[in-house]
């Protein structure tokens, strides 16, 4: 029996390349037709019978205490169905935009009128929103314990070249195009139906049960499509709970609260700012031996954690200090690859400045020290070489400071990154119906990464049937629970669970069909819409006919991750290069070209994998050049909670983008690794390095606005010649 188990376990693996008709190919996403025709329904699009519009009154002050709160006039307003104070007199408010009162009314205009009629008086308290200088933060600065590895003092004495620099990136927001929000209704006293824009369909009920006082099993959560999350949509949020409470107060009528755009940008998520002063020391030949950093930054009230620096390269001797700055800037949330873009910039920019001090090509410096990347060193080496070819790096790179005449200076930059991305815990039910159709059900979600399509590809390829024969149903707590989509864990989780379910289902089907084909079950295989005897394709039965033998009873099999066989692992590696032009008269930075070379183990769908890299580079260009949650020190408010002044990159801003995905046996054998986050890590560093290469001086902070570029040029002095 033990021997048989071992044999079965050995079968849980990905198919060999010649057995993949869909896996790894360029497959159009299965929900494309719904999305391009406007039929796809998002939470924002849910219109329920008798639905009320919920709105929230928000505090205009960054730090205040509620002195008076009077909702009596609003409660009598025609059309207003429920009024729910979310704060009480005496409560302290710690950021502008925090929720004070929620109302539900017959329609949005009426709810807006109601919000304006609420009377609140605040006692204003001192606020603080500045994050770029820890010395100015006073008692708002919270130092963390110093971390030391090796002997940094001795290493810096030994170093022949030491570079020192200041780097960082500002607060930015998630700016999901579909705002956060939910539509909640009660069915009787004890059952709740929740439509919510979320990255964690299976995780919402458990978070709402306590606040609502009903068992999690009585809360049904649904979501067909989500309009962006990027790490900011894992909980029901105070407004989701408020929608549920308002609904109960209104006799169970559905209440819809979707955040207004200003609230979305002020309170529904921000990426913490991080800044740092870094010293890095090397031998004359470029061997990096010493790292010292003092970092600081803010994520609002909860203190920021120390950064994982030095990033990717484990420099043997290190000293690191971190100071969390506690501000009234509003709540931070996980933002696509938390801490990595910041750690990447601080490390890759410091190494780039070290290369300049060594008068070395930064690509050569990275290659010289690549063994410090540990297990993935060979992957980085291969990727750096491919990226260099795609960028024509060796032909086009010049030392710091473009020597060409005229105001437009051109430069190249490089960066490397990593991310774990092992598949999460996930269950799915796979049903083969007697008519030959196949259904897969799981409480997962497709953030636009192509999760539905990936599941369909895995199941169809395993069962040897066309993609169209598989229907994937996700986004409902009535399906088996699946992990939240964070940490790039979804593709590994859902593809592994689906593969196991499909293999097990196939085993059961083979057991039924084997006698018909005069074969034993282990002699059968599924291929090209038929079940056939291996090595004797003349003995076969069409898929539909085989399924008809199920005697009218659908065959349902549960697949799980983790499970037998290593179908998903961790540790994606990637390289990016940027080619920029900088106008030294206006300070405007333009992207000419970017190259992304990325590994993510076995690729399920090449088309959507490439899209992740293109999209991540564009998001990276956006945060490198344009995005900043600008906090006003006078009022403590965000100055740009809208899409005119919170700038996202547009079609005109991206230049030429090149993606190369690593493929082949060496990558396939690591199984599926997540890809949502890794390629968004390097753009900031690669672009910052390219700008330094172009203009001969480091612009310390992202976004690289014209103002910051001109300020760096002014500090450098009149000459723009090479360093």
């Amino acid at each position: 029996m033990a021997e048989r188990d071992a044999m079965e376990m050995a079968e849980y693996k990905w198919p060999e390349p010649e057995r993949r008709r869909l896996i790894g190919k360029r497959i159009s996403r299965v929900d494309g037709p719904e999305k391009v025709t406007g039929r796809a329904k998002y939470t924002y699009d849910v219109n329920r019978p008798g639905m009320l519009a919920g709105k929230i009154l928000r505090c205009p002050y960054a730090h205040a205490r509620i002195a008076r709160l009077d909702t009596s006039a609003v409660e009598k307003m025609p059309g207003v169905q429920a009024v729910l104070p979310l704060k009480k007199v005496g409560d302290e408010i710690l950021w502008a935009g925090d929720e004070v009162v929620a109302v539900a009314a017959v329609d949005e205009p009426t709810a807006e009128d109601a919000i304006r009629a609420i009377v609140v008086e605040y006692e204003k308290l001192p606020h603080f929103v500045l994050d770029t200088d820890p010395k100015a933060a006073g008692e708002r600065a919270r130092p963390a314990a110093e971390q030391v590895e090796g002997d940094p003092d001795a290493a810096f004495r030994e170093a022949e070249v030491v570079a020192e620099g200041l780097y960082g990136m500002s607060l930015i927001t998630h700016c999901c195009l579909e705002a956060h929000g939910a539509v909640v209704e009660w069915e009787g006293e004890n059952n709740v139906l929740v439509h919510i824009s979320t990255q964690a369909v299976s995780g919402i009920a458990g978070q709402m049960a306590g606040p609502l006082g009903v068992p999690a099993g009585n809360i049904r959560v649904k979501q067909e499509h989500i309009g962006g999350g990027f790490g900011s949509k894992f909980g029901p949020d105070s407004w989701g709970i408020a929608a549920a409470r308002l609904s109960k107060m209104a006799g169970g009528r559905p209440v819809k609260i979707m955040l207004e755009r200003d609230a979305e940008l002020m309170v529904a998520g921000a990426r913490p700012s991080y800044y740092g002063r870094v010293r890095v020391g090397a031998k004359r030949d470029g061997t990096v031996i010493a790292w010292e950093s003092e970092t600081w930054g803010t994520g609002g009230i909860p203190p920021t954690s120390p950064l994982p620096v030095p990033y990717v390269l484990r420099i043997p001797n290190q000293r690191k200090r971190h100071i969390a700055i506690v501000t009234n800037s509003g709540p931070a949330r996980a933002w696509r690859a938390p801490l990595h873009p910041q750690a990447c910039l601080l490390t890759m920019a410091a190494l780039d400045d070290l290369a300049a001090a060594l008068r070395m090509d930064p690509l050569d410096l990275l290659l010289k020290n690549i063994e410090l990347a540990g297990e993935r060193a060979d992957v980085y080496r291969e990727e750096l070489q491919i990226a260099a070819e795609l960028m024509e790096w060796k032909k086009r790179w010049h030392p710091r400071g473009d020597p060409s005449p005229g105001p437009i200076k051109r430069g190249l930059g490089v960066s490397i990154h990593t991310w774990p991305g092992r598949g999460h815990a996930c269950r799915c039910d796979l049903t083969i119906h007697p008519d030959g159709s196949v259904e897969v059900k799981l409480g997962s979600q497709d953030l636009g990464t192509g999760t539905r399509t990936a599941i369909a590809i895995v199941v169809a390829d395993t069962l040897g049937i066309p993609l169209e024969a598989v229907r994937v149903r996700i986004g409902d707590t009535q399906y088996p629970p699946a992990g939240g989509s964070g940490g790039s864990t979804t593709i590994g989780g859902v593809s592994s669970a689906a593969r196991r379910a499909a293999l097990d289902a196939l085993d059961q089907l083979f057991a039924r069909i084997a006698p018909l084909l005069n074969a034993s079950p282990d002699q059968l295989e599924a291929w090209d819409g038929r079940i056939r005897v291996k090595g004797d394709p003349s003995r076969s039965i069409a898929w539909e006919h085989a399924c008809a033998r199920l005697d009218g009873m659908p065959l349902t099999v549960r697949g799980e991750n983790p499970g037998p066989g290593e179908l998903t692992t961790a540790g994606a590696a990637g390289v990016q290069m940027a080619d920029v032009s900088v106008d030294i008269e206006t300070g405007i930075v333009r992207i000419n070209k970017m190259v992304a070379v990325q590994d993510c183990g076995l690729i399920i769908n090449m088309k959507t994998a490439e899209s992740q890299c293109y999209g991540a580079m564009i998001m990276g260009i956006s945060y490198a050049l344009y995005e900043e949650k600008i906090m006003d020190p006078v009022t403590g408010r965000m100055l740009n909670p809208n899409m005119e002044f919170y700038k996202l990159a547009g079609l005109a801003d991206i230049g030429e983008l090149v993606v190369h995905m690593m493929t082949g046996e060496k990558y396939d054998r690591r199984g599926v690794i997540g890809l949502g986050e890794p390629p968004v890590i390097s753009p900031g560093a690669a672009i910052s390095n390219a700008v330094a290469n172009a203009i001969g001086v480091r612009v310390p902070f992202l976004p690289l606005t014209p103002e910051r570029v001109l300020e760096a040029l002014a500090k450098k002095g009149g000459s723009h010649a090479r360093v």
Binding site: G79, D107, G448, G450, A649, L651
Partner: protein
Amino acid sequence: MEKQHSRAGSLSRRDFLKVSGITLTVPLVIGPRVLKVAGAEVKVFGPGRVPMTFTINGKTYRAELEPRVTLLDALRNEFELTGAKRVCDRGTCGACTVLLDGKPVYACSVLAIEAQGRAITTVEGLMQNGKLHPIQQAFIENDALQCGFCTPGFVVACKALLDRNPNPTPEDLVAGLGGNLCRCGTYVGIRAAIAQAARMQRGG
């Protein structure tokens, strides 16, 4: 239905659009009143609900709406045409793009009452005889979408661009689609999709 309209606090965008630069106090009535404003006769509707008729994707739709309701909210809330999205809600991002008499407009910045008598085309109206429009097909094949929230606006903006310029240069693309924003970063796919759709349309 009677409603009170508080004038306390700041002027909302809807209020601003509603009064269109003139401030009036008007009783709750259905149907227009005629007022003299700067010597001209001006029909004044609302603030109560007014019967309105629209031509959307070739079909007639009727609703009673307050004059302050935008075309976007009318489409989404009254007619279940939720393809056009509300994102910035102030004419920046293009997610609500629809065609008015063939020209692209931000539906969040057009009052429903003013869209009467004009041909309104939404993303739901682009399919012909159950077949995807070549632009829609090209969006799918070139993976010009991820979360898909901006996609209806982009598809409609692409149609408007190709209708007036069947052979757009890269510069034309930037101008024609510069009013639409995507957060997932699908611009590479969109560039390829519009090139393919243009080729398909030229090929007939």
